[in-house]
Every structure is written in C-alpha cells, then in structure tokens.
C-alpha cells in the first residue's frame, strides 16, 4: 500500500529537529532537559513514524539509544559515572546539549538566509528573473514534519484505541487520496488539516490520507501552513502557472 510512497524523512527533518521541537513544545530549558520526559515523548514520535512507514532513518534510532543511555547515566550517583574526557561538567547531558545548541545556531542562521531569499524575490534584473513568486501576507510559516505528526496523532486519538500496528486493508490507496485531496483543494482555497480526516473513519484510511498529504507536500503540490507555532494547521494548494 505505501510502497510507492515511502516518504524519506531526510527530505524533511532529522532527530535533532525532533528533539528541538519537543523542547520548544514543552517549553523546557535546553540547559536542563528533563531527559525522562523527553525520551518517552521522543519514543512515541518514533513509534508513530514507524507506523506511518516513514522510512525512519538510522539516525533516529541512534538518538533514541543515546537518550536512553543518558537516562540511565542520570540514575547513577555522580561519583559512579564513568569519567568524561574534555568536558568539565560531569552531566551526561552535556554533549547532547552542546550538539543541540550548535544545531540550533545553524537553524537560526538558515532562517536569516531564508529572510534574505524572500527579500530577493522583490528584485528583478534586466532579463526578468524566472524565480518569481506570489505569496500572501507574511507571518505564516511553513509547517515542519513534526507539527504534522502531532496533528496526525490527534486524529488517531479521535479514531479510537485499536492497535496501531494492525494490518491495514487495501481499501484505500495513497493514489486515491492524492486525487481526493487535490480535488477538495481545487474547490476550496484552504482546508483545515483536521477536516481532511473524517471522524470515525477506519484507521487505515487515516494513515493513507496522511501519507498522501506528505507526498503532496514533498511534491510541492500543496503546502501546510500555521499562523503560529502549535496552532491549527491548514492546507492550501500551491498555485501553479
């Protein structure tokens, strides 16, 4: 069912993005990460991603074991922890925090570059630039993959408590849903993410709808937008020529 539409998460985001996402979502201090809580949330997302057959990269699993290792280290009294080299703190979270901060720095630099990219869209050289665009008013950000997964887990909660790893029937195919979603969006300009899922529909259908959405986002046929972080997500057609 999902074979042809195996979404490569690499094209979206990685384990560090997920961790930063969870840290921001829970508004926890990056210098004092509640490892136990974050680890269990991380593992939940991993489960969801696996269930969606998102082709979870090995890096996500490596990070999971790193988190669990840190968790176990924190259970030991400080003097029994193996001595760390090069770090003047004995906190087992130190390396991870440093990696997160370093990555966060580049994420912010990337945002600065993105601002410059947008500014350039208002400038034309003598031979008209082909890279034109037409975008509505600002203050709307593109939605990250984890926002989508969060929204998706809400849908699943509504759908009931069946085993998430059940084998889905082949009644709904990603291809069907691809055209279904595109049809809806041709008629309406914008649709709320949650409205694309019928309440009470079969879980297989929900998963297929979600995969179709990811595929459409990857193909840049649609875009997911959010007015502010953790707000409701809406889906729009990317206007083509």
């Amino acid at each position: 069912m999902t074979e042809d539409y195996n979404v490569h998460l690499e094209e979206f985001e990685g384990p560090l993005d997920l961790l930063l996402y969870l840290i921001k979502k829970d508004e926890v201090d990056i210098y004092d990460i509640p490892i136990e809580k974050i680890t269990s949330q991380y593992l939940e997302y991993l489960e969801l991603m696996k269930m969606l057959d998102l082709n979870v990269a090995g890096e996500f699993l490596v990070m999971a074991s790193t988190l669990m290792y840190i968790k176990s280290m924190l259970l030991l009294p400080p003097e029994e922890r193996p001595p760390e080299e090069d770090i003047d703190e004995t906190d087992p979270r130190a390396d991870l925090v440093r990696q997160l901060l370093e990555y966060k720095k580049f994420k912010e630099l990337a945002e600065q570059l993105q601002k410059k990219e947008r500014q350039r869209e208002d400038i034309f050289t003598r031979v008209a630039s082909v890279e034109l665009k037409d975008e509505g008013s600002g203050d709307i950000s593109d939605v990250g993959i984890f926002d989508l997964i969060s929204a998706f887990s809400e849908v699943l909660n509504v759908a009931g408590e069946e085993d998430l790893r059940e084998i889905f029937e082949d009644r709904f195919t990603v291809t069907d849903k691809l055209s279904h979603i595109t049809e809806i969006l041709k008629n309406k300009k914008s649709v709320k993410f949650l409205d694309l899922f019928d309440p009470g529909s079969h879980k297989g259908e929900i998963v297929v709808t979600f995969l179709a959405l990811l595929e459409l986002i990857r193909l840049k046929t649609i875009k997911a937008i959010q007015k502010k972080s953790f707000d409701n997500i809406s889906i729009e057609l990317v206007e083509s020529i």
Binding site: H8, E10, E11, F12, E13, G14, P15, L16, A57, E59, M63, D88, E89, R98, Q99, L101, E102, Y103, K104, K105, F106, K107, E108, L109, A110, E111, Q112, L113, Q114, K116, E117, Q119, R120, E121, D122, I123, F124, T125, R126, V127, A128, V130, E131, L132, K133, D134, E135, D142, G144, V238, E239, S240, I241
Partner: protein
C-alpha cells in the same frame, strides 16, 4: 576616454547584462578602446547611482557577489509580479540549514555537515551541487581525502550578498553560551 563617456559605456554594459559584472571585466572591455582605472570605474558607478536616485529612476546598481548589476527597486515588485505569474522556487529548510553550515564553516567535508545536522546529507548536497549553490573546492588532507565543499558566487547572488563578510553575524543571533 572622457569621464562622461566612461560613465555611459559602463551604464550600457551594466544595462545589457543580467549577471553581475566584476570590475576586472569592465576594465577589460574598456581597455580595447581607451582605459579606466578601477577607482574611475567605481566612481562612475557611484555617479550613475546618484543620478538614478535624484531623477527617481525605478532601478539602481547594486554591489553583489563581487560585481555590479542593475536591478529594480523592491517597491515595484508587485507590478512586475503581475506581469510574470511564475512560481518561486524556494529552498527547503534542510537545504537552507545545510547551506548555512557550508557558508559559515567552509571549506567543510560532508561528514562534518552530518555531524552538525545529525542526518545523512547525501541527497541535499547533491541537489545543492546541481543547483550550483555549493562546489567542490578541493580535498581535505586526511585519510580518504574527502571532498571539501564551499559556497559559490551563485550562492552570494541568490541571497543578495556582496561577499561572505555580509553573511549575518553569529553574534546578531540570540546569545547562547555555546562555549563554556
């Protein structure tokens, strides 16, 4: 060549080119006839810009990617966009992040980008190479002699940067004590 004539030739050159022109290129073109020194050329470009500004032209000359280019003022974008209803091709977040890492840490090997991003970047590096935003700038002198990656002039142009010094400073970001 008189100052007036020099200025006009430079204007004609800039006007007819969509790519930024470097001073050396302009010097070369002028040398066929008479010549203009680097400083004369720079002065002429400054004069052109003040003229455009005073007479309220819709365009000006920008200093970008090591060269000069005539572009429209941003305030006319809304009209020009109506004329060319084309989709923007924007870079994805992972691409922007990877570019940021290359830009600030260049020259850098792929493995070091991966260490920062925490994921494999084969696909993204390939796309960025194809789009000419980054280039292979040499090899690192370590076992395996991996390729070093660096940003290109196209990168500077795309983001509207004169040179790499114009990259947003890391200190302009919110302060973190990254180094203990």
């Amino acid at each position: 060549m008189s100052g007036e004539n020099l200025k006009n030739v430079i204007e004609a050159l800039l006007f007819s080119s969509s790519k930024p022109l470097g001073i050396p290129e302009i010097v070369k073109v002028l040398s066929v006839d008479k010549n203009g020194s680097r400083s004369e050329i720079k002065k002429a470009i400054e004069n052109l810009n003040s003229e455009y500004n005073e007479s309220g032209k819709s365009f000006f000359i920008e200093n970008i990617a090591g060269g000069y280019r005539m572009i429209t003022k941003p305030e006319y974008a809304e009209y020009i966009k109506i004329l060319y209803q084309v989709q923007p091709s924007r870079l994805s977040k992972p691409s922007l992040e990877t570019l940021a890492i290359v830009a600030y840490r260049q020259p850098i090997i792929k493995a070091d980008i991966e260490a920062i991003r925490g994921v494999n970047v084969d696909g993204i590096v390939k796309t960025l190479l194809e789009k000419d935003f980054i280039k292979i700038s040499g090899r690192k002198d370590v076992p395996g002699r991996p390729f070093l990656l660096a940003t290109t002039n196209k990168f500077l142009e795309y983001f509207g940067l004169k040179d790499l010094n114009e990259l947003p400073k890391i200190s302009e970001l919110r302060q973190f004590s990254i180094v203990k």
